[in-house]
């Protein structure tokens, strides 16, 4: 490798709100979750050394692998992927299955996971990999709940590894009903009171008459 090529090939770092960064420093993981009506898809991107550390427990910055050695590690990384994040949907575990693990154009490890079930109204993400890595690693999580663009973002750290979001696209009827109630609670209560009052009023007014009519009919 020529020196000229080396100086012109720095790996860029960092995160974008719009999705996982395209190149990673060894201590920063990025993730993008898309919550659809039928599934949750999660893409987690990290440096090769970080992935190897999570998969094998090997420590130290020199523990990494060359891109061409990726096939040797593929099975380990595929097995690792579902444990990167722990996700709950309305309080119940929402298991993820690995769809693929591959190297990105920048040589980072991209794990794509998906849920078998629909995500519910409240989805909580826990970056469980931060509990395995030593303090200093961070995980930048962006979540898109309805449109293509993320509406939630948080930099997760070991001492604060969770983000809970409201799933606007959840198809649950209960959710819709609750939203209607939440948004129009005063009006609904007022209408309820009015309608209830009228019913009570009519019932109490009709009771004697109805009785009379029945009596009259019986007569």
């Amino acid at each position: 490798v020529t020196r000229g090529a080396l100086v012109l090939a720095p790996a860029l770092v960092a995160l974008s709100f719009a999705g996982p960064a395209r190149a990673h420093d060894p201590f920063e993981i990025t993730a993008l979750a898309r919550l659809g009506a039928s599934e949750l898809v999660l893409e987690v991107t990290m440096a090769r050394g970080t992935a190897l550390r999570l998969a094998t427990g090997r420590t130290g910055p020199r523990e990494t692998f060359a891109p061409k050695a990726f096939p040797e590690h593929h099975a380990k990384l595929l097995a690792l992927a579902p444990s990167l994040y722990a996700i709950t949907s309305d309080g119940a575990a929402l298991p993820l299955r690995a769809r693929s693990v591959a190297l990105t154009e920048e040589g980072d490890v991209l794990s794509v996971l998906a849920s078998a079930e629909s995500p519910g109204e409240r989805v909580r993400f826990r970056a469980s990999h931060l509990g395995v890595l030593p303090e200093g690693y961070t995980s930048a999580l962006s979540v898109a709940t309805s449109a293509e663009k993320p509406t939630y973002y948080k930099l997760l750290v070991a001492t604060d590894p969770e983000l809970e979001v409201e799933h606007e696209g959840s198809p649950g009827l209960a959710r819709a009903a609750r939203r209607v109630f939440d948004d129009y609670a005063p009006l609904i209560l007022l209408l309820g009171a009015l309608v209830g009052g009228r019913i009570v009023e009519r019932v109490t007014r009709r009771e004697p008459g109805a009785t009379r009519r029945v009596v009259q009919a019986g007569e």
Binding site: R3, V7, P10, L12, V13, A18, D25, P26, E28, L155
Partner: protein, 615 residues
């Protein structure tokens, strides 16, 4: 004899901003020695700050701290006063020339405001602006509503309204076009908002839009008093569709063209603009680091370093410097990295005088651009790209400044190096003996050990003493402290470590990574790489403040120390290298002075500065 200072603008201490009035109106207050226009007549022109009095709550009392100017005479003393309502001011403490510029007011009473008067030649000067005591140890600045989930990634500081205090500029990042907002630190009021427009929406960290800011490790914004008139301006990367604070939209026929716009710090209106270099226009928009420096040693310049990418391969790099006259922005020089003109670039630049000629250079990790835009040197010894580098006086026994840098996957095995910042000569290098070098990712410098000469520098291959080269802590079982940021907080001259939202001292005896004595845990959001949006010396004495955004995105908090100290140092913001460093934020790294600030230090030399005159 103390006269009454003006009442604080915000008597309620829990309200926004740090309050205060212009008792020393039109000047710095607190003593003629530091008055606007004062200092070295041929020195670099810096903003004319006031004494920066701040009074955070400390226990049942108030810890009151104030600023020593770089232009103050060595024998200057101070008297700190408290005023409760309309009662006559009472002196809380006096500070002799061998004492710090702070004191604890153990019995403040209610409704206390504070001001300070400098004493030179036995004569008490004018009072500084009076500020109310804070209800906590931080200043609160409410954030205006922005897009859902919008967060503050970066913040900058400068005296936007010319009142002698540092104000705050922040970005607001969401899936919409990034915003830039200016806030008065004194009142907490939002002054203006910039909208990067449709060409700011693409926030890709490598190939973002023409007007995108704060994407990846880029910033594209900086704040400084570029025309040296006492009011700070904002320099920002712009393109077609960018909306300024007065509602004016930049209209330009070609969406590819990019500009450096100078924005009025008071109003947010554009004053003028100049093109960014377009040498690599066909490869897409440039993403940039912005900063300030003094290329002629007297007047400040806008500095930009930008890159874009050729397809998915190599990167183009261009740097440029601009002069701002107050009405016009003119390019002074342009530097392109081509034909082996330059070396490896890193994720940040440092703008400081590395060769001691009084004029600033633009230092990248692997090379330095001289004040005239030519290459001063490129590092040899096989240095390639790394993420971080640091330059300060790490070894006081050695003339000049020293640098420390880290490497990323160097095939020759090099992992870290220590060098002469004047010449680029590698003084020590550290390699993997068993093959290619690692992607070190983090590395920093600080003076942690009092018994080691000078600073220590470290990454994940060990901690070394700058003065002797001795191995101080071997990297076994990941035991060196996490190498993120150096911060000054607790009042000794040794360094504290800032990581995520905590600052503290590493346990020098345990020598285990996560053994710290945390001095303060800040409440707020942490951003990429364990960095907070801003930290630096902007209030009170020479210690550094930490700015974070609250988790609900509702307000900024500027935390300030309550640790007492008798160490007296002029404000770090009057140190040329440090002040420039506060202007560069994309991939945040430690802010460093250009003298040895560490255990057993000598008094630093007076900075060669003068304070801007005010009309």
């Amino acid at each position: 004899m103390a006269g009454g200072a003006g009442a604080g603008a915000f008597a309620g201490s829990g309200t926004a901003g740090f309050g205060g009035s212009g008792a020393g109106s039109g000047g710095t207050g607190g003593g003629a020695a530091g008055a606007c226009g004062g200092g070295n007549p041929s020195g670099r022109i810096m903003e004319c700050l006031d004494r920066g009095v701040v009074a955070p709550k400390s226990g049942t009392g108030n810890f009151v701290s104030f600023r020593l100017f770089g232009t103050d005479p060595p024998d200057i003393t101070f008297r700190l006063y408290r005023q409760n309502g309309s009662a006559a001011p009472v002196m809380v403490c006096s500070r002799a020339a061998n004492q710090g510029t702070s004191c604890l007011d153990a019995n403040p009473g209610s409704g206390a405001t504070y001001f300070v008067r400098a004493v030179t030649g036995g004569v008490e000067g004018a009072p500084s602006p009076a500020v109310p005591a804070l209800a906590q140890d931080y200043v609160r600045i409410p954030l205006a509503a922005a897009a859902s989930g919008a967060y503050v990634h970066l913040a900058w500081t400068g005296d936007l309204d010319g009142d002698g205090s540092f104000d705050i500029v922040v970005d607001r990042i969401s899936s919409a076009a990034p915003l830039v907002e200016g806030y008065s630190a004194r009142t907490g009021a939002r002054l203006w908002r910039l909208d990067t427009g449709p060409l700011g929406v693409n926030q890709d960290n490598i190939e973002g839009g023409a007007a995108t800011i704060s994407n990846g490790h880029w910033d594209g914004v900086t704040v400084f008093d570029f025309d040296a008139d006492g009011d700070a301006e904002v320099a920002v990367k712009t393109a077609n569709g960018f909306v300024f604070g007065d509602g004016t939209t930049l209209r330009h026929a070609n969406d590819q063209d990019q500009f450096v716009s100078i924005v009025n710090g008071r109003t947010g209106a554009e004053i003028t603009r100049a093109p960014l270099p377009n040498d690599y226009l066909s490869d897409g928009p440039l993403q940039c680091h912005f900063g300030a420096g003094y290329l002629d040693g007297v007047r400040p310049n806008v500095i930009v370093k930008c890159k874009n990418r050729v397809g998915s391969g190599a990167f183009n790099l261009v740097a440029a410097a601009y002069d701002f006259s107050g009405t016009a922005l003119t390019r002074r020089w342009k530097f392109t990295r081509s034909n082996n003109n330059g070396g490896a670039d890193y994720h940040q630049i440092r703008i400081l005088d590395v060769d001691g000629d009084g004029k600033d250079e633009v230092a990248d990790g692997g090379y330095v651009i001289d004040d005239d835009g030519t290459l001063l040197y490129a590092l040899g010894s096989g240095v390639i790209h790394g993420d971080r580098f640091h330059i300060t006086d790490m070894d006081p026994a050695r003339p000049g400044l020293e640098g420390f840098g880290i490497q990323q996957d160097n095939p020759n095995g090099l992992e870290t190096y220590y060098y002469d910042a004047r010449t680029g000569q590698i003084l020590r290098s550290y390699s993997n003996p068993n093959g290619a070098g690692a992607d070190m990712g983090r590395g920093t410098v600080a003076d942690l050990f009092p018994d080691q000469p000078g600073f220590e520098y470290w990454s994940f291959n060990g901690m070394y003493a700058a003065g002797s080269g001795a191995l101080v802590v071997a990297e076994e079982n990941e035991n060196v402290p996490w190498p993120n940021f150096l911060m000054q907080w607790d009042g000794d001259t040794g360094g504290e470590l800032l990581d995520n939202n905590r600052v503290g001292d590493w346990n020098l005896t345990a020598r285990s990574r996560n053994t710290y004595s945390w001095r303060r845990t800040f409440d707020g959001l942490v951003q990429a790489r364990g960095a907070i949006p801003f930290y630096g010396d902007i209030l009170g004495d020479w210690r550094e403040e930490a700015l974070l955004e609250t988790a609900d995105h509702a307000e900024l908090r500027i935390y300030t120390t309550t640790y007492e100290t008798d160490v007296r140092l002029y404000t770090l913001a009057h140190n040329p290298a440090y002040r420039n460093s506060l202007t560069v934020h994309g991939y945040k790294q430690s802010h460093l002075v250009d003298y040895f600030l560490g255990h057993g230090m000598a008094a630093p030399p007076a900075p060669r500065i003068r304070l801007a005159a005010r009309p």
